[in-house]
Amino acid sequence: MTTVAELPAGFADKVTAAQSTFRAVMDAMARPGRICKVAAALPAPAPLMPAVAAIALTLFDHDTPIWLDAAVVRHREVGQWLKFHCSAPVVEEASVASFALVADPARMPALDCFALGSNDYPDRSTTLILQVASLTDGAPLELSGPGIRGTTALAATVSADLIAQLALNRELFPRGVDLVLVAGDEVVALPRSTRITAKGG
Protein backbone atom coordinates (compact mmCIF):
# COMPACT_ATOMS: atom_id res chain seq x y z
CA MET A 1 0.00 0.00 0.00
CA THR A 2 1.42 3.33 -1.08
CA THR A 3 1.03 6.03 1.52
CA VAL A 4 0.01 9.55 0.61
CA ALA A 5 3.51 10.77 1.35
CA GLU A 6 4.91 8.44 -1.32
CA LEU A 7 2.52 9.59 -4.06
CA PRO A 8 4.02 11.85 -6.74
CA ALA A 9 3.32 15.51 -6.07
CA GLY A 10 0.76 17.64 -7.92
CA PHE A 11 1.41 21.03 -9.54
CA ALA A 12 3.98 23.18 -7.75
CA ASP A 13 1.93 26.28 -8.61
CA LYS A 14 -1.67 25.12 -8.94
CA VAL A 15 -3.13 28.33 -10.35
CA THR A 16 -0.76 29.13 -13.19
CA ALA A 17 -0.07 25.49 -14.10
CA ALA A 18 -3.79 24.72 -14.37
CA GLN A 19 -4.36 27.88 -16.40
CA SER A 20 -1.57 27.18 -18.90
CA THR A 21 -2.63 23.52 -19.21
CA PHE A 22 -6.23 24.55 -19.82
CA ARG A 23 -5.20 27.07 -22.48
CA ALA A 24 -3.21 24.34 -24.27
CA VAL A 25 -6.23 22.02 -24.23
CA MET A 26 -8.62 24.84 -25.20
CA ASP A 27 -6.34 25.79 -28.07
CA ALA A 28 -6.19 22.14 -29.15
CA MET A 29 -9.99 21.77 -28.95
CA ALA A 30 -10.54 25.02 -30.89
CA ARG A 31 -8.05 23.99 -33.59
CA PRO A 32 -8.43 20.24 -34.14
CA GLY A 33 -5.29 18.59 -35.45
CA ARG A 34 -2.96 21.21 -34.04
CA ILE A 35 -0.31 19.81 -31.71
CA CYS A 36 -0.24 21.85 -28.49
CA LYS A 37 2.43 21.58 -25.84
CA VAL A 38 1.46 21.31 -22.19
CA ALA A 39 4.22 23.31 -20.53
CA ALA A 40 3.16 22.36 -17.00
CA ALA A 41 3.31 18.60 -17.70
CA LEU A 42 4.58 16.84 -14.59
CA PRO A 43 5.92 13.47 -13.52
CA ALA A 44 3.00 11.21 -12.72
CA PRO A 45 2.52 7.65 -11.54
CA ALA A 46 3.03 5.16 -14.40
CA PRO A 47 1.47 4.61 -16.85
CA LEU A 48 0.11 8.19 -16.96
CA MET A 49 1.92 10.46 -19.41
CA PRO A 50 3.04 13.87 -18.09
CA ALA A 51 0.43 15.84 -20.06
CA VAL A 52 -2.35 13.46 -18.97
CA ALA A 53 -1.43 14.07 -15.35
CA ALA A 54 -1.53 17.83 -15.95
CA ILE A 55 -4.94 17.60 -17.67
CA ALA A 56 -6.25 15.51 -14.76
CA LEU A 57 -5.16 18.09 -12.21
CA THR A 58 -6.65 20.87 -14.38
CA LEU A 59 -10.08 19.45 -15.20
CA PHE A 60 -10.98 16.62 -12.79
CA ASP A 61 -12.70 17.07 -9.44
CA HIS A 62 -15.50 15.72 -7.26
CA ASP A 63 -18.05 16.63 -9.98
CA THR A 64 -16.42 14.47 -12.66
CA PRO A 65 -16.69 10.69 -12.55
CA ILE A 66 -13.55 9.18 -14.10
CA TRP A 67 -13.35 5.90 -15.99
CA LEU A 68 -9.96 4.17 -16.22
CA ASP A 69 -9.06 1.48 -18.74
CA ALA A 70 -7.61 -1.86 -17.65
CA ALA A 71 -4.05 -0.73 -18.37
CA VAL A 72 -4.50 2.12 -15.87
CA VAL A 73 -6.60 0.27 -13.29
CA ARG A 74 -3.80 -2.32 -12.98
CA HIS A 75 -1.69 0.39 -11.37
CA ARG A 76 -3.49 1.04 -8.09
CA GLU A 77 -1.29 4.04 -7.43
CA VAL A 78 -2.96 5.96 -10.26
CA GLY A 79 -6.38 5.66 -8.66
CA GLN A 80 -4.94 6.77 -5.32
CA TRP A 81 -3.15 9.67 -6.97
CA LEU A 82 -6.31 10.83 -8.76
CA LYS A 83 -8.35 10.51 -5.58
CA PHE A 84 -5.83 12.39 -3.48
CA HIS A 85 -5.13 15.25 -5.89
CA CYS A 86 -8.48 15.60 -7.67
CA SER A 87 -11.04 14.01 -5.31
CA ALA A 88 -12.53 12.52 -8.47
CA PRO A 89 -14.72 9.43 -8.10
CA VAL A 90 -13.43 6.51 -10.19
CA VAL A 91 -16.34 4.63 -11.77
CA GLU A 92 -16.51 1.24 -13.47
CA GLU A 93 -19.46 2.16 -15.69
CA ALA A 94 -18.06 3.99 -18.73
CA SER A 95 -21.46 5.39 -19.74
CA VAL A 96 -21.61 7.73 -16.74
CA ALA A 97 -18.02 9.01 -16.94
CA SER A 98 -17.20 12.67 -17.57
CA PHE A 99 -13.68 11.71 -18.52
CA ALA A 100 -12.05 8.43 -19.53
CA LEU A 101 -8.33 7.77 -19.27
CA VAL A 102 -7.16 5.25 -21.84
CA ALA A 103 -3.55 4.09 -21.71
CA ASP A 104 -4.03 1.24 -24.15
CA PRO A 105 -6.25 2.47 -27.03
CA ALA A 106 -5.85 -0.88 -28.86
CA ARG A 107 -7.98 -2.58 -26.21
CA MET A 108 -10.42 0.18 -25.37
CA PRO A 109 -14.17 -0.51 -25.50
CA ALA A 110 -16.24 0.79 -28.41
CA LEU A 111 -16.93 4.53 -28.34
CA ASP A 112 -20.65 3.96 -27.86
CA CYS A 113 -19.95 2.43 -24.44
CA PHE A 114 -19.23 5.94 -23.18
CA ALA A 115 -21.67 8.76 -22.47
CA LEU A 116 -22.75 10.26 -25.80
CA GLY A 117 -25.03 12.92 -24.36
CA SER A 118 -28.65 13.31 -25.38
CA ASN A 119 -30.14 15.40 -28.18
CA ASP A 120 -31.41 17.78 -25.49
CA TYR A 121 -28.10 17.86 -23.59
CA PRO A 122 -25.30 16.80 -25.95
CA ASP A 123 -22.77 18.26 -23.49
CA ARG A 124 -23.42 15.43 -21.02
CA SER A 125 -20.89 13.24 -22.74
CA THR A 126 -17.53 11.65 -22.01
CA THR A 127 -14.27 13.30 -22.99
CA LEU A 128 -11.78 10.53 -23.77
CA ILE A 129 -8.13 11.11 -23.06
CA LEU A 130 -6.12 8.65 -25.12
CA GLN A 131 -2.42 8.01 -24.65
CA VAL A 132 -0.90 7.27 -28.04
CA ALA A 133 2.63 6.36 -29.09
CA SER A 134 3.08 9.37 -31.34
CA LEU A 135 1.20 12.36 -32.77
CA THR A 136 3.39 12.53 -35.87
CA ASP A 137 4.44 8.99 -36.88
CA GLY A 138 1.10 7.42 -37.73
CA ALA A 139 -0.72 6.99 -41.03
CA PRO A 140 -1.66 10.38 -42.50
CA LEU A 141 -5.19 11.56 -41.80
CA GLU A 142 -7.08 14.50 -43.22
CA LEU A 143 -9.24 16.58 -40.87
CA SER A 144 -11.92 19.13 -41.65
CA GLY A 145 -14.65 20.93 -39.73
CA PRO A 146 -15.04 23.83 -37.29
CA GLY A 147 -11.68 25.17 -36.10
CA ILE A 148 -9.90 24.12 -39.29
CA ARG A 149 -9.22 26.36 -42.28
CA GLY A 150 -10.07 24.05 -45.17
CA THR A 151 -8.36 20.83 -44.23
CA THR A 152 -5.42 19.92 -42.06
CA ALA A 153 -3.22 16.87 -41.72
CA LEU A 154 -2.65 14.70 -38.67
CA ALA A 155 -0.43 11.64 -38.35
CA ALA A 156 -1.18 10.39 -34.86
CA THR A 157 -0.88 6.67 -34.23
CA VAL A 158 -4.54 5.68 -34.05
CA SER A 159 -6.03 2.47 -35.37
CA ALA A 160 -8.12 2.23 -38.54
CA ASP A 161 -10.88 0.81 -36.36
CA LEU A 162 -10.94 3.92 -34.19
CA ILE A 163 -11.05 6.15 -37.29
CA ALA A 164 -14.06 4.17 -38.51
CA GLN A 165 -15.75 4.58 -35.13
CA LEU A 166 -15.02 8.31 -35.18
CA ALA A 167 -16.78 8.58 -38.53
CA LEU A 168 -19.89 7.11 -36.87
CA ASN A 169 -19.34 9.44 -33.91
CA ARG A 170 -19.42 12.40 -36.33
CA GLU A 171 -22.72 11.18 -37.72
CA LEU A 172 -24.25 11.36 -34.23
CA PHE A 173 -23.53 15.11 -34.01
CA PRO A 174 -24.47 17.00 -31.85
CA ARG A 175 -24.24 13.88 -29.67
CA GLY A 176 -20.94 12.07 -29.41
CA VAL A 177 -17.65 11.87 -27.53
CA ASP A 178 -14.68 14.22 -27.78
CA LEU A 179 -11.12 12.87 -27.95
CA VAL A 180 -7.91 14.30 -26.62
CA LEU A 181 -4.85 12.43 -27.90
CA VAL A 182 -1.73 12.69 -25.77
CA ALA A 183 1.86 11.72 -26.43
CA GLY A 184 4.32 12.75 -23.72
CA ASP A 185 3.74 16.43 -23.06
CA GLU A 186 1.86 17.17 -26.30
CA VAL A 187 -1.86 17.04 -27.03
CA VAL A 188 -4.13 17.02 -30.07
CA ALA A 189 -7.91 17.24 -29.79
CA LEU A 190 -10.50 15.60 -32.03
CA PRO A 191 -13.85 17.08 -30.99
CA ARG A 192 -17.03 15.41 -32.26
CA SER A 193 -17.42 18.14 -34.91
CA THR A 194 -14.27 17.04 -36.80
CA ARG A 195 -14.47 14.92 -39.95
CA ILE A 196 -11.59 12.48 -40.27
CA THR A 197 -10.60 10.61 -43.42
CA ALA A 198 -7.56 8.56 -44.31
CA LYS A 199 -5.49 10.73 -46.62
CA GLY A 200 -6.29 10.10 -50.25
CA GLY A 201 -9.18 7.90 -49.14
Binding site: M26, T64, N119, D120, Y121
Partner: protein, 293 residues
Protein backbone atom coordinates in the same frame (compact mmCIF):
# COMPACT_ATOMS: atom_id res chain seq x y z
CA UNK B 1 -1.41 45.37 4.14
CA UNK B 2 -1.51 44.15 0.57
CA UNK B 3 -1.93 40.46 1.28
CA UNK B 4 -3.81 38.88 -1.63
CA UNK B 5 -7.43 38.61 -0.61
CA UNK B 6 -8.61 36.93 -3.79
CA UNK B 7 -7.41 34.03 -5.87
CA UNK B 8 -5.77 34.94 -9.19
CA UNK B 9 -8.51 36.43 -11.43
CA UNK B 10 -10.99 36.43 -8.52
CA UNK B 11 -12.66 33.04 -9.07
CA UNK B 12 -11.67 30.05 -6.95
CA UNK B 13 -9.98 27.13 -8.72
CA UNK B 14 -13.02 24.83 -8.40
CA UNK B 15 -15.21 27.34 -10.21
CA UNK B 16 -12.59 27.80 -12.90
CA UNK B 17 -12.44 24.03 -13.45
CA UNK B 18 -16.23 23.90 -13.87
CA UNK B 19 -16.23 26.83 -16.33
CA UNK B 20 -13.25 25.42 -18.22
CA UNK B 21 -15.05 22.10 -18.71
CA UNK B 22 -18.09 23.98 -20.02
CA UNK B 23 -15.90 25.97 -22.43
CA UNK B 24 -14.37 22.77 -23.86
CA UNK B 25 -17.85 21.31 -24.48
CA UNK B 26 -19.01 24.59 -25.99
CA UNK B 27 -16.11 24.55 -28.46
CA UNK B 28 -16.79 20.90 -29.35
CA UNK B 29 -20.48 21.65 -30.08
CA UNK B 30 -20.37 25.04 -31.89
CA UNK B 31 -23.39 27.22 -31.12
CA UNK B 32 -24.86 24.92 -28.44
CA UNK B 33 -25.54 26.62 -25.10
CA UNK B 34 -23.77 24.67 -22.35
CA UNK B 35 -25.36 25.14 -18.90
CA UNK B 36 -22.90 26.11 -16.18
CA UNK B 37 -23.06 26.95 -12.49
CA UNK B 38 -22.77 30.71 -12.81
CA UNK B 39 -21.44 32.39 -9.68
CA UNK B 40 -22.40 35.59 -7.99
CA UNK B 41 -19.86 38.18 -9.02
CA UNK B 42 -19.00 41.51 -7.39
CA UNK B 43 -21.13 43.32 -9.97
CA UNK B 44 -24.82 43.06 -10.79
CA UNK B 45 -26.27 40.75 -13.42
CA UNK B 46 -26.47 42.66 -16.68
CA UNK B 47 -23.03 44.16 -16.20
CA UNK B 48 -21.24 41.31 -17.87
CA UNK B 49 -21.00 38.66 -15.18
CA UNK B 50 -21.03 35.88 -17.79
CA UNK B 51 -18.24 37.42 -19.83
CA UNK B 52 -16.27 38.16 -16.67
CA UNK B 53 -16.49 34.54 -15.52
CA UNK B 54 -15.35 33.24 -18.92
CA UNK B 55 -12.49 35.74 -18.99
CA UNK B 56 -11.49 34.83 -15.41
CA UNK B 57 -11.39 31.14 -16.34
CA UNK B 58 -9.13 31.57 -19.37
CA UNK B 59 -6.94 34.48 -18.29
CA UNK B 60 -3.26 33.87 -17.47
CA UNK B 61 -0.48 36.15 -16.22
CA UNK B 62 0.94 36.53 -19.75
CA UNK B 63 -2.34 37.71 -21.29
CA UNK B 64 -3.03 41.24 -22.45
CA UNK B 65 -6.64 42.22 -21.86
CA UNK B 66 -8.83 44.66 -23.74
CA UNK B 67 -12.42 45.38 -22.67
CA UNK B 68 -14.94 47.23 -24.81
CA UNK B 69 -18.50 48.35 -24.21
CA UNK B 70 -20.42 49.26 -27.38
CA UNK B 71 -17.03 49.47 -29.11
CA UNK B 72 -15.62 51.91 -26.58
CA UNK B 73 -12.68 51.27 -24.24
CA UNK B 74 -13.59 54.15 -21.97
CA UNK B 75 -17.15 53.73 -20.83
CA UNK B 76 -18.00 52.74 -17.25
CA UNK B 77 -18.56 49.05 -17.87
CA UNK B 78 -15.36 48.63 -19.88
CA UNK B 79 -13.21 50.56 -17.43
CA UNK B 80 -14.54 48.80 -14.35
CA UNK B 81 -14.05 45.32 -15.83
CA UNK B 82 -10.57 46.21 -17.10
CA UNK B 83 -9.63 47.52 -13.65
CA UNK B 84 -11.19 44.46 -12.01
CA UNK B 85 -8.80 42.15 -13.84
CA UNK B 86 -5.84 44.50 -13.54
CA UNK B 87 -6.42 44.34 -9.77
CA UNK B 88 -7.34 40.68 -9.26
CA UNK B 89 -5.10 39.10 -11.92
CA UNK B 90 -2.43 41.75 -12.38
CA UNK B 91 -2.64 41.31 -16.16
CA UNK B 92 -1.49 43.90 -18.64
CA UNK B 93 -4.33 45.82 -20.26
CA UNK B 94 -4.54 47.65 -23.53
CA UNK B 95 -7.00 49.55 -25.68
CA UNK B 96 -5.29 48.47 -28.94
CA UNK B 97 -7.20 45.68 -30.62
CA UNK B 98 -4.19 44.07 -32.28
CA UNK B 99 -2.14 44.00 -29.05
CA UNK B 100 -4.75 42.16 -26.98
CA UNK B 101 -4.75 38.38 -26.49
CA UNK B 102 -8.14 38.38 -24.75
CA UNK B 103 -10.85 40.90 -25.67
CA UNK B 104 -14.01 41.04 -23.60
CA UNK B 105 -16.83 42.80 -25.38
CA UNK B 106 -20.30 44.09 -24.78
CA UNK B 107 -22.36 44.56 -27.95
CA UNK B 108 -19.65 45.07 -30.60
CA UNK B 109 -17.00 43.21 -32.55
CA UNK B 110 -13.88 45.33 -33.16
CA UNK B 111 -13.47 46.77 -36.67
CA UNK B 112 -9.85 45.59 -36.98
CA UNK B 113 -9.73 41.95 -38.14
CA UNK B 114 -9.00 39.58 -35.26
CA UNK B 115 -6.04 37.21 -35.53
CA UNK B 116 -5.44 33.60 -34.57
CA UNK B 117 -3.82 34.27 -31.21
CA UNK B 118 -6.86 36.11 -29.85
CA UNK B 119 -9.95 35.11 -27.90
CA UNK B 120 -13.06 37.29 -28.10
CA UNK B 121 -15.32 36.96 -25.03
CA UNK B 122 -18.88 38.25 -25.41
CA UNK B 123 -21.12 39.39 -22.57
CA UNK B 124 -24.54 37.93 -23.27
CA UNK B 125 -27.83 39.01 -21.67
CA UNK B 126 -30.27 36.51 -23.25
CA UNK B 127 -28.44 33.55 -24.84
CA UNK B 128 -31.56 31.82 -26.16
CA UNK B 129 -32.43 33.17 -29.64
CA UNK B 130 -35.88 31.59 -29.44
CA UNK B 131 -36.74 32.93 -25.98
CA UNK B 132 -38.98 35.82 -27.07
CA UNK B 133 -40.82 33.47 -29.42
CA UNK B 134 -41.19 30.57 -26.97
CA UNK B 135 -40.81 31.30 -23.25
CA UNK B 136 -40.60 27.65 -22.11
CA UNK B 137 -37.04 26.35 -21.73
CA UNK B 138 -38.27 22.77 -22.20
CA UNK B 139 -39.70 23.71 -25.60
CA UNK B 140 -36.73 25.75 -26.85
CA UNK B 141 -34.39 22.95 -25.76
CA UNK B 142 -36.45 20.48 -27.78
CA UNK B 143 -36.43 22.81 -30.79
CA UNK B 144 -32.62 22.95 -30.67
CA UNK B 145 -32.47 19.16 -30.23
CA UNK B 146 -34.57 18.66 -33.36
CA UNK B 147 -32.96 21.51 -35.29
CA UNK B 148 -36.48 22.89 -35.66
CA UNK B 149 -36.06 26.58 -36.36
CA UNK B 150 -39.19 27.30 -38.39
CA UNK B 151 -40.41 29.68 -35.69
CA UNK B 152 -37.41 31.95 -36.20
CA UNK B 153 -38.07 32.15 -39.92
CA UNK B 154 -41.71 33.00 -39.18
CA UNK B 155 -40.49 35.86 -37.01
CA UNK B 156 -38.24 37.19 -39.79
CA UNK B 157 -41.09 36.72 -42.27
CA UNK B 158 -43.43 38.73 -40.05
CA UNK B 159 -40.83 41.52 -40.08
CA UNK B 160 -41.07 41.54 -43.87
CA UNK B 161 -44.88 41.41 -43.82
CA UNK B 162 -45.06 44.37 -41.41
CA UNK B 163 -42.15 46.54 -42.51
CA UNK B 164 -41.26 45.35 -45.99
CA UNK B 165 -37.81 44.24 -44.86
CA UNK B 166 -36.20 42.25 -42.03
CA UNK B 167 -36.32 44.91 -39.31
CA UNK B 168 -34.23 42.99 -36.76
CA UNK B 169 -31.24 45.30 -36.33
CA UNK B 170 -29.29 43.72 -33.47
CA UNK B 171 -29.03 40.24 -31.89
CA UNK B 172 -29.68 39.05 -35.43
CA UNK B 173 -29.92 35.24 -35.36
CA UNK B 174 -27.20 33.16 -36.99
CA UNK B 175 -26.75 29.48 -37.79
CA UNK B 176 -23.41 28.07 -36.65
CA UNK B 177 -21.65 25.31 -38.61
CA UNK B 178 -24.95 24.39 -40.26
CA UNK B 179 -26.55 23.15 -37.04
CA UNK B 180 -27.42 25.42 -34.11
CA UNK B 181 -29.23 28.73 -34.38
CA UNK B 182 -27.44 31.09 -32.03
CA UNK B 183 -27.89 34.56 -30.57
CA UNK B 184 -24.79 36.61 -31.32
CA UNK B 185 -25.60 38.80 -28.25
CA UNK B 186 -26.96 42.31 -28.91
CA UNK B 187 -24.29 43.22 -31.46
CA UNK B 188 -25.55 45.26 -34.41
CA UNK B 189 -26.21 43.06 -37.43
CA UNK B 190 -23.45 45.10 -39.10
CA UNK B 191 -21.05 42.89 -37.11
CA UNK B 192 -22.57 39.52 -38.05
CA UNK B 193 -20.34 38.89 -41.10
CA UNK B 194 -17.24 39.28 -38.88
CA UNK B 195 -18.19 36.14 -36.95
CA UNK B 196 -18.02 33.98 -40.07
CA UNK B 197 -14.71 32.23 -40.73
CA UNK B 198 -13.10 34.36 -37.98
CA UNK B 199 -9.48 33.52 -37.15
CA UNK B 200 -10.02 34.08 -33.42
CA UNK B 201 -11.88 31.85 -30.98
CA UNK B 202 -15.21 33.40 -29.91
CA UNK B 203 -16.63 32.56 -26.48
CA UNK B 204 -20.00 33.73 -25.13
CA UNK B 205 -20.91 33.95 -21.43
CA UNK B 206 -24.38 34.61 -20.01
CA UNK B 207 -24.15 34.99 -16.23
CA UNK B 208 -27.78 35.38 -15.19
CA UNK B 209 -28.98 32.78 -17.69
CA UNK B 210 -26.07 30.45 -16.84
CA UNK B 211 -25.00 29.49 -20.34
CA UNK B 212 -21.67 29.35 -22.18
CA UNK B 213 -21.37 28.87 -25.92
CA UNK B 214 -18.67 29.19 -28.54
CA UNK B 215 -17.71 29.58 -32.16
CA UNK B 216 -14.38 27.91 -32.96
CA UNK B 217 -12.07 29.65 -35.44
CA UNK B 218 -12.78 29.20 -39.18
CA UNK B 219 -16.37 28.21 -38.54
CA UNK B 220 -19.24 28.97 -40.88
CA UNK B 221 -21.64 31.49 -39.33
CA UNK B 222 -24.63 32.36 -41.52
CA UNK B 223 -27.15 35.11 -40.77
CA UNK B 224 -30.66 33.73 -41.32
CA UNK B 225 -32.49 35.22 -44.29
CA UNK B 226 -34.62 34.42 -47.33
CA UNK B 227 -33.58 34.04 -50.98
CA UNK B 228 -35.70 37.05 -51.97
CA UNK B 229 -34.85 39.00 -48.81
CA UNK B 230 -31.14 38.37 -48.32
CA UNK B 231 -29.32 39.49 -45.18
CA UNK B 232 -27.98 43.02 -45.44
CA UNK B 233 -25.72 45.02 -43.16
CA UNK B 234 -26.92 48.37 -41.94
CA UNK B 235 -24.78 51.44 -41.41
CA UNK B 236 -25.67 55.14 -41.04
CA UNK B 237 -25.01 56.80 -44.39
CA UNK B 238 -22.26 59.15 -43.29
CA UNK B 239 -18.49 59.24 -42.76
CA UNK B 240 -17.16 59.34 -39.19
CA UNK B 241 -17.00 62.98 -38.09
CA UNK B 242 -13.67 62.43 -36.35
CA UNK B 243 -11.71 60.13 -38.67
CA UNK B 244 -13.70 60.14 -41.90
CA UNK B 245 -14.10 56.34 -41.94
CA UNK B 246 -16.72 55.16 -44.41
CA UNK B 247 -16.58 51.48 -43.46
CA UNK B 248 -17.04 51.51 -39.68
CA UNK B 249 -20.15 51.17 -37.55
CA UNK B 250 -21.28 54.61 -36.35
CA UNK B 251 -22.80 55.99 -33.16
CA UNK B 252 -25.19 58.90 -33.52
CA UNK B 253 -24.37 61.67 -31.08
CA UNK B 254 -26.93 64.41 -30.42
CA UNK B 255 -24.99 67.63 -29.96
CA UNK B 256 -27.67 70.15 -28.95
CA UNK B 257 -31.42 70.51 -28.53
CA UNK B 258 -31.85 71.92 -32.04
CA UNK B 259 -31.64 68.52 -33.73
CA UNK B 260 -27.94 68.73 -34.55
CA UNK B 261 -26.08 65.47 -34.53
CA UNK B 262 -22.82 63.90 -35.56
CA UNK B 263 -21.82 60.37 -36.44
CA UNK B 264 -18.63 58.89 -35.00
CA UNK B 265 -17.05 55.43 -35.02
CA UNK B 266 -18.40 53.27 -32.23
CA UNK B 267 -15.01 51.47 -32.11
CA UNK B 268 -12.87 54.07 -30.32
CA UNK B 269 -9.58 52.24 -30.93
CA UNK B 270 -10.27 52.01 -34.66
CA UNK B 271 -11.16 55.72 -34.75
CA UNK B 272 -8.11 56.81 -32.74
CA UNK B 273 -5.78 54.64 -34.82
CA UNK B 274 -7.11 56.25 -37.99
CA UNK B 275 -6.75 59.74 -36.50
CA UNK B 276 -3.16 58.92 -35.52
CA UNK B 277 -2.56 57.82 -39.10
CA UNK B 278 -3.68 61.28 -40.26
CA UNK B 279 -7.27 60.59 -41.32
CA UNK B 280 -9.52 63.54 -40.61
CA UNK B 281 -13.26 64.00 -40.41
CA UNK B 282 -15.49 67.05 -40.66
CA UNK B 283 -15.32 67.73 -36.90
CA UNK B 284 -11.61 67.12 -36.41
CA UNK B 285 -9.85 69.98 -34.65
CA UNK B 286 -6.42 70.47 -36.23
CA UNK B 287 -4.62 70.99 -32.90
CA UNK B 288 -6.67 68.57 -30.87
CA UNK B 289 -4.76 66.14 -28.70
CA UNK B 290 -4.94 62.65 -30.07
CA UNK B 291 -6.53 59.88 -28.11
CA UNK B 292 -7.99 60.03 -24.66
CA UNK B 293 -6.96 56.73 -23.07
Amino acid sequence: MNAPTYNFAYLDEGTKRMIRRAILKAIAIPGYQVPFASREMPMPYGWGTGGVQVTAAILGPQDVLKVIDQGSDDTTNAISIRKFFAKTAGVATTTRTEEASVIQTRHRIPEAPLHAGQVLVYQVPIPEPLRYLEPRETETRRMHALGEYGLMHVKLYEDIAKFGHIATAYAYPVKVAGRYVMDPSPTPKFDNPKMNDCEALQLFGAGREKRIYAIPPYTQVVSLDFEDHPFTRYRQDAPCALCGAEDSYLDEIVTDDQGSRMFVCSDTDYCETRQRDGHLGSESAPNKEHGHG
